[in-house]
Every structure is written in C-alpha cells, then in structure tokens.
Amino acid sequence: MTETSAEPGLTPRRAVMLIIRRELSERTRQKSFLISTGVTLLIVLAIAVLPGLLGDDGPKTYDIGVVGAGGAPLAEALPRVDLGSDVRVTTRTLADRAEAERLVEDGTLDAAVDGDAVVVDEELGGELEALVQLANRDVRAQQALVAAGVSGDQARAITDPPPLRTVALDPPDRERDDRRTLVTFGVFFVFGQIFGYGFAVASSVVEEKASRVVELLLAKIRPRELLTGKIIGVGALGFGQLVLFMAVGLAAATASGSIDLPPGTAGAAVLVLGWFLLGFILYSALFAMAGAVASRVEELQNTSSPITFLIMAGYIGTVAAAGDPGGAVARVTSFFPFWAPLVMPIRMAAGEATAGEVVIVTALVLVTAVVVVRLAARIYAGGALRTRGRIKLREAMSDSART
C-alpha cells in the first residue's frame, strides 16, 4: 500500500489545527446544529423586530369634532396645544349635536365639543382631557382678553407663552443608555453561548472516552494538543454564532425601527465578544475537567453541576448589573473572575467601571484562565484515558503521565 509517507514532522500546531478542523467540520454538518442555529436566529429576529412593530407605533392621533361655526377658534387652537408628547390632532366642523353624538358613538371621533360641553363615548381622560380643556381655556381666555380691548396678537401671546427652558443638572445620556441596553442583550447571549458551548466541550470529551476513540487519538498526539484543539474549535463555532446573532439582531432592529444604533455600537460589540472569549476559555476549561472525570455521558450531569451553579450565580450578578450597573452587587460580582465576563461588560457600557477597575479585573481573569487551563490540561491528561468508572480528581492529577 502507501509507503511510509508519514513525515515525523507533525508539529503541535498542526495537530491542534487538525483537531480544530475536525470539530468545525463535524459540528457544522450536524443537522441539530443547523436547526438550533436557525431557531435561535428566529428568536433573535423576533426580539429585535417586535419592539419596532408593537412598542412605538408613531404619534398618537386624536380626531376631535367642533360643532358650528362658533367652534372655529377652538378648532384652530386644538392642534397648537403642546402637551410635551408626540400628539397629533385633526379637527372637523360638525353641523349639530346629533352629528357629534353619532360620530363619537361610532368611533369616527374621539371627542366632539359643542359650546360648553364635550361629548365622549365613555369618559374624558388622560391626554385627550388635557388637550381639550387646555385648548378651551386658551380660546376662552383670548376671547375674554379681546373683549376687554386687548389686540388678538397680544391676547394670543398672553395665553400662549413660550414654554420653560429645561436646565438638567444630570441629564441622561441616551446614547450611553442605548449602548448599555445593547450590551445587556449581548451579555445574555454570551451567557447562553458560554453555557451551551462549554457544555459541548464537556460532552465531546466524554463522547471520545465513551467511544474509546481517545485511546487512538492519544497514541498520535498529546492530551494538551487534543484539549487545546477542542476548546478552540468549539469556541470558534460559539464565537461565530454569537457574531451572526449580533449582526442579524442589530441589522433587524435597525431595519424595523426598534432602535437607532448609537455611535459606539461597534465598540460595544467588540466589548461583548472580547468578554465572551475570556469567559469561554475559563468555563470551557472547567467543563473539560468535568468531562475528563466522567466516563459516561450520564455522569456528566453530576460532574458538571458545580460549574452550572457557578455560571448561574454569575447570571444573577448580570441581572443585578443590568438593573443597577453602579450598585454594590454589580461592583462586587464584577471582580470575581468567573462572573466578570458577564457583569463587567455591562458596567463598562454603563460607564460605571473606572479604567483601573477594567485593568485589574481583566488581569484577574487572565491569570485565573491560565491557572484553570493548566489544571484542566493535567486533569484531562490523567482522566482522558480512564474510560471506566468515575475518576477522583486527585487520581486524575497524579496519573497524568504526559500532558
């Protein structure tokens, strides 16, 4: 057959690349992967588009009738009333009270003013009441002023003074708030991706043990190379999916008018993706350990439950941070390396994290990642070839022949 064309030069880098390639090509070919990506995309689209369709359906319009020619000043005054909100008023002149009642009753008009009475269907309330009463007051006041000898223009100036100027001591930064909202959404996806793809690393480790293929793999390459390739391969897929979700979500939200992207959206996206990478490295290494000490898929539930608790606790911190990014809970949880990847991006987007804090937390997370990955490599090396029974952590560590 083929003569020994095997080069002894399989570099560690090429070994890792081969593992990454296999993970990517096998996973993307799975129907379940394509389906779950599709379903998640639909959910992303729904979340992105619905606010645009439901929430803000343009200015509110009131149709108001005015009875008789005597109502003309009122009809003129009604659209000019400034309620401070986006309200549009249309008016029409009605022949008599009977027509007013008929049109209000069948819903053509929201209200109709006949002299000193306003006809409504059930009750006059909210914006409509303010609108009608203010317009009526202005008109009556002007008429009274004109009757007293004040010119029409002056009367109008008196009844319609310029509105007060606002001097806000701590004005809200809408763009920053928008960015924070976007990042919060992003972080929830990061949570899902870290959890989902971290678990994928664990189950992939166990599946290789259960199918015993790991023995053949480790006869060719080192455990360290296999683990590295697996984490990068699975992580790249999770990262790619996250980018896709974010891109589609932002595009759909913009197109449907749900949000106007604030300046700095790209920066916010990079922030979220960067923290995803850090978080994924941490958690996938932990999940790899959970896989290495289990020998069957059913045991994974048990060995991974501490990690599940850890990330769920981080999720609580995330919810707290989303509600109050400057609060104590957000601040404290953002310093814990396993929670920082979820909490820190929100604090940063909200402008609540100082540059010093960002540096310290990033350093903490990086150091933790190095420690966890090393530990995972040892435990994986010791546990990967033990395909029978649950493995004690200490055994796995002392049994690691080569990593």
């Binding site: 057959m1 095997a6 399989l10 081969l18 296999r22 390459i221 022949a401």
Partner: protein, 296 residues
Amino acid sequence: MLELSDVSRRYGDVIALDGVSFSVEQGQMRGLVGRNGAGKTTAMRIVLGLAEPDGGEVRLDGSPIDDAARRRIGYMPEERGLYPKMRVTDQLVFFGQLSGMSMADSRSAAGQWVERLGVADRAGDRLEELSLGNQQRVQLAAALVHGPSLLVLDEPFSGLDPVGVDVLSDVLRGEVDRGAAVVFSSHQLELIEHLCDAVTVLDKGKVVADGGIKELRTRHGGRRLRVQLEGKSTAWAEGLPGVTGVHADGDGTVLDLASDADTQAVLDAARAAGRVESFTPLTPTLAELFREVIQP
C-alpha cells in the same frame, strides 16, 4: 525494529509488568499470548505512550521511542474506538493526517484501504451505520492508513467471523512482506501458530517463553512420545523409569517423560511387550506449550 528491555509497571499493589523484554524485527510477525491480566495490553499501551513504564526502556529502530516515532506505529486498541458519527473516509483521512500525512496522501491511502478491505461502498457512510464486522475493517484501515513500519494490534482477531479472520490474516501477511514489524495479542493459539514467526508468552507480568515458534516447539519437544503397539496394551509402560504419565488414545499410547528419561530404554521395553508399529517423539502444539509454561 521494536525492542522492549526490562520494562516494568505496577498499578498500586498489582504488578502488571515485571522486567519484560522482547523484540519484533522488520518483516517479522510476533504473537503475544497469555491469560487475561498477564500484561499484554499494558505492554502495548506502554509502547504507544498511553501508559508510562516504571522502569525499563522501549526502543524503535535503535532509538528510545518518542512521539514522532510513535506516530509511525499502526495501533488497534483492545477496545475498538472511532468516531461513531464521522464518515468512514473522513475518519481515515483524519487519522492519516494525525499520523503526519498530507491531506492528499491521506485521501489516496484511505481510498486504497477501503477498497482492499471491501468497504469502499460504505466509504461515505457514518461509521455507526456499518455492521460490526465492517466497523472492524474500518478500525483496521485506521491502523494501516499511514503505512506504518510497526503494527501493534491488541486482540485484532476477536469478534471476527471466519471470513474476517482470513481477510485480516492476508492483510497482516502482506504488511510483513512489505517489511513491517507486526505484533499482536490473541487467545487463538492455533491462529498464532499458523501466522506468526515468533511468540512471546507472558504470565503474571513476566515473559515465560519467547522465541521462534518452531524453535520453541522443538526445544520443548522430546518430552512426549507416541508409541503404537500391536494389541494396544498400555500396561507395559506403567512404572517404566523416566515415564511420568501414560494415556491411551485412538492412535496409541502417549507417554510423558521426565527430563532425564532414556528413550532407548522405553523403546526396548515397548519391543519386549510386542511389535512396535510406530515410535514418535511428539512436538507440542503452541497450546500444549502454553499450558506447560504458565503456572496454574
């Protein structure tokens, strides 16, 4: 050429290997036999770097074995394992590449092996869709795809039907003819006797017999005699000096001899008892030899 010298390994209180030495030369097929737990699998896993020896050395082609050298080995573990959901060709190409081959070389070798092993029509299927027999063939192809100079096969014949046994035997002979060194373990001693040039018998972690099969059988020969006498009586042999056991079977009388027995004296006694039709020193089969060398 693979050489194990004085390799030891213990697991807790259990001594798996105790100063084991044997070698496999290029163009040689060596059988590894022994009861369950004798240390065969441990020895193979140490060769593959899947277990570390406590002492001793493994050399391949004269140098201490390392990762690069190990990638030249074709290995079939006792517990078969490939990716159940991966397609046959993809799987073989992947393992070829992990052994250091280029994608193109890997592809062409994978194509040749699925053809040769009769699974070409299933090459695009997922492994789990194949019958167990065909999965075994793919497993063999995974061990061979990179043209290894050494094959280490743990119980390669177990679970094979007679056709599968023939296919595997042919393939192994072909590999040996190509110049590869082959070592495999098996409980099927007739098969080893039939296929192998040499055998190593392990018992309780120690080598209790080692050498060419013919040589071993000759060396352990002469300890038994088959004598065919007219009349088929066995009484003449009872109590003869140097005779430790007498059994009659359809073809005459088989005598077990002590190491210092005088066969000429036995022949004289036989002739005195009647007409001797045949007098044959027996060469033990591998199975008999095996029973002789391992402790009960």
